[in-house]
């Protein structure tokens, strides 16, 4: 069996970076190249009764990652996210609204190694 290959690094990404409009920035492609996982935030045009439960689930899952020392960042923004994270006691992560894939990749490359990676003895870089 191949060893577990997770990166312990997760980007919370606004929908417009996961499903970019023509000419938009594809953060999933950057995540593939840099080895980050992606947690997608609900599209901005979803009504509150649809987006609210999704944001609550994102926050609950992020809480579990946070408890275990995974690293995360926010790409873009999403109304309601700060409140959802506050409800589970997780601070809003460092954020970027990148204009180019290079800006996003540089931002990700500059992040410190996650504590979870060190705990697992597999910290990269």
């Amino acid at each position: 069996m191949k060893p577990d290959q997770r990166s312990f690094r997760i980007m919370l990404a606004a929908d417009r970076y996961v499903n970019p409009p023509p000419g938009g920035l594809d953060a999933v492609a950057v995540a593939e190249q840099t080895g980050w996982g992606v947690m997608q935030l609900p599209a901005d045009d979803y009504p509150p009764e649809v987006a609210g439960p999704l944001l609550a689930e994102v926050a609950e899952q992020l809480e579990e990652f946070s408890r275990h020392g995974y690293a995360f960042v926010l790409v873009g923004e999403r109304a309601g996210l700060p409140e959802a994270l506050a409800n589970v006691g997780v601070p809003l992560p460092d954020q970027i609204s990148p204009g180019t894939p290079r800006q996003l990749a540089d931002f990700l490359d500059g992040r410190p190694a996650p504590r979870a990676a060190w705990d697992a003895g597999s910290a990269a870089d």
Binding site: D4, R6, A29, A31, E32, P42, P53, L54, V58, Q61
Partner: protein, 179 residues
């Protein structure tokens, strides 16, 4: 083209059970096909992550199938069904991409062993994969039925199955996308 509702771990392998992450983050063999075909991506929540945690053991369906886990999956399924409903109302085509062999996310293959429990030791090669849906997918089925929405076409990531073949996995996904 349409909207593909994908298992959480296909965009984030960090959510996998220990020793289960096939790559660092994004599972490209599935996501790249969706990109090539121009499908919108909607990531579903991982039902096991928040309920049983990152340190969970590998499990078969019977071990997870408690009333409390069902309620948890039902809550998540309602959230997913609400988004599917938005998309279906817009007239968009929908597919669901799960994880074959998963006790929660299997779409045509799940895992089953009614005798498994207690000290977590069992022989390698136990034939635990059986036809059927995982628990979360079953709950999505119910949530859509309550809304009068038909269950979408499905495809599955097959990495955990014996004889996994990436070309066959891609063909299965493309077939589901083409309808």
């Amino acid at each position: 083209m349409g909207v593909a509702f994908v298992a959480h771990c296909l965009l984030n392998q960090n959510s996998k059970v220990g020793d289960g992450a096939h790559c660092a983050g994004v599972y490209s063999p599935v996501i790249d096909v969706l990109r090539e075909k121009g499908w919108r991506i909607e990531q579903m929540p991982c039902p096991e992550l928040a309920f049983t945690g990152l340190n969970r053991f590998w499990a078969v369906k019977e071990q997870l199938d408690t009333a409390a886990y069902r309620r948890h999956c039902e809550r998540l399924a309602e959230a997913v069904a609400a988004v599917i409903s938005v998309r279906v109302t817009k007239g968009e085509d929908v597919v669901l991409v799960g994880v074959e062999g998963s006790p929660s996310m299997g779409v045509t293959v799940t895992s089953s062993d009614p005798l498994r429990g207690g000290r977590p030791e069992w022989p390698d090669g136990t034939a635990e994969h059986v036809s059927g849906e995982g628990i979360f997918v079953e709950e999505i089925h119910k949530a859509l039925a309550k809304r009068g929405i038909g269950f979408p076409r499905v495809a599955g990531e097959t990495h955990a199955l014996a004889g996994h073949d990436e070309a066959a996995q891609r063909a299965g996904l493309e077939s589901a996308l083409e309808g």
